[in-house]
């Protein structure tokens, strides 16, 4: 288990999550928040991690060959 730290969220949001996860696979609000934040982080980091270095080099070569670089 990772070491954890506290984060504050509005109580209304906390209650909304509690309601939402009742009967779901999320054992606790913390688990849900961790899941949701990971997901959001992944989306924000966006595109970059989708490309391997090798693929990026291939693209650079093509751009160079076409005269874009």
């Amino acid at each position: 288990m990772d070491r954890t730290k506290e984060v504050k969220i509005p109580s209304s949001l906390y209650r909304a999550i509690e309601e939402k996860i009742e009967g779901s696979n999320f054992p606790s609000v913390s688990e849900f928040v961790t899941y949701a934040v990971r997901k959001a982080l992944k989306e924000l980091s966006g595109y970059r991690e989708q490309l391997s270095e090798e693929e990026k080099e291939e693209i650079k070569d093509r751009l160079r060959a076409l005269g874009y670089l």
Partner: protein, 381 residues
């Protein structure tokens, strides 16, 4: 780098073993020959131009797009990307279908749904009219009776008339990053550039790092400029009047639908996927005839605060004899008598030698290139 529409750049281009395996299955599967426009759509889906779409729309998404201008999951989407088939074809397809162009396999489609649709609803939902004077409506009325939905995996690229200028969103995103552009404004066009276009682009560019000029290549209506003329004209313009460090040209292989406001939103979404942070929306963007009010294509963006790309709205630029330069109505206090507008009609007359305003309408280098084509316009109908 701007996050692709819907969160992730779609990449359904098969490579290596996966592609090989798929190619070996091709001869066992039913095939469907596509028009060039549809082949372009397939490629646009697979290469992420249409992210987050992974295939042709199913009924639920189509209805949501027509009724609300959003996919069923609420992501903004205004133009139906659909594949029409006849009853005959529908009865022969199983769970996979090979999509071909000029006899060559382009993609494999996982068939998820075959369904009927309402042509009138489609015409009204996208074009806001059922008049056959509208080229989009005419096309809808000519579509086959059923739609087939499902994800596509690209086997082969669709041959391009402009391979040198064909870039995928993956490639433009790397390009913008390498150029060090954090903000990029996209410019949609289906025209040769006159000086009004140049001023719009350069005004926008003043506030961002880079300009992405992205002409649409594909089916257009008679009277539009031919694709090769547009590209050659831009080459001449950029060579003489743009900086290599701040402007690039690449083509977008996609048909024009002339859906006005809805197409403006679509154009913005597509440029977001290419990595643009800003998008230029001008007067009567993607319009045709008098079907849409001149600034409807700007107003529609009020419905999409969540679109994730900044629309830059422009009024038309014109030449003012009194200001002694290219200006717009926001900055020039002078009357009509001093103004020379940059209309397409006027440009056409100039090119035919019927108007006297050549020098202020179009750069001489651009005019020379256009004149070198005996017939610069799409013929027909």
């Amino acid at each position: 780098m701007v996050v692709p529409h819907g969160g992730r750049l779609v990449d359904r281009v098969l490579k290596g073993d996966e592609r090989q395996e798929a190619l070996e299955r091709v001869h066992l599967l039913p095939k469907l020959e596509l028009s060039r426009d549809l082949a372009f759509e397939v490629e646009n889906i697979a290469t992420g131009v249409f992210s987050p779409l992974e295939g042709f729309l199913g009924r639920e998404d189509l209805e949501s797009v027509l009724d609300h201008g959003r996919l069923a999951n609420d992501v903004p989407w205004t133009i139906p990307i659909v594949l029409d088939i006849s009853e005959d074809v529908a009865s022969s397809i199983r769970d996979e279908l090979v999509l071909c162009y000029r006899g060559e396999p382009v993609a494999i489609m996982e068939v998820e749904e075959v369904y009927a649709y309402d042509r009138v609803g489609m015409a009204l939902g996208v074009y806001g009219t059922t008049s056959e004077e509208h080229p989009g409506v005419l096309k809808v009325n000519g579509m086959k009776d059923l739609l087939v939905a499902g994800k596509v995996d690209l086997l082969n690229q669709v041959p391009s008339p402009f391979p040198k200028y064909k870039l995928s969103p993956k490639e433009t995103r790397v390009l913008f990053e390498l150029k060090g552009w954090r903000t990029v404004v996209g410019f949609q066009t289906r025209n040769v550039p006159h000086i009004g276009h140049e001023y719009v682009q350069k005004t926008a560019l003043t506030f961002v790092d880079g300009l992405f000029i992205n002409p649409v290549i594909g089916r257009k209506k008679p009277g539009d400029f031919k694709d090769e003329v547009i590209i050659a004209a831009y080459e001449a313009l950029m060579e003489n009047y743009y900086l290599r460090d701040t402007a690039v040209l690449a083509v977008l292989q996609m048909e024009m639908r002339y859906a006005g406001p809805r197409e403006a939103v679509h154009h913005a979404i597509v440029r977001k996927n290419f990595g643009c942070t800003h998008f230029i929306v001008g007067r009567d963007h993607a319009g045709v005839g008098n079907f849409y009010p001149p600034y409807a294509a700007q107003e529609i963006f009020e419905d999409y605060p969540d679109i994730g790309i900044v629309p830059l709205f422009f009024r038309s630029f014109f030449y003012c004899r009194r200001c002694g330069g290219v200006v717009n109505e926001k900055v020039c206090p002078h009357g009509e008598e001093y103004r020379v507008s940059f209309s397409g009609t006027k440009l056409r007359r100039t090119l035919k030698g019927e108007a006297e305003e050549g020098g202020v309408l179009i750069r001489p280098e651009v005019e020379e290139v256009i004149r070198s084509y005996p017939e610069p316009f799409v013929e027909g109908r």
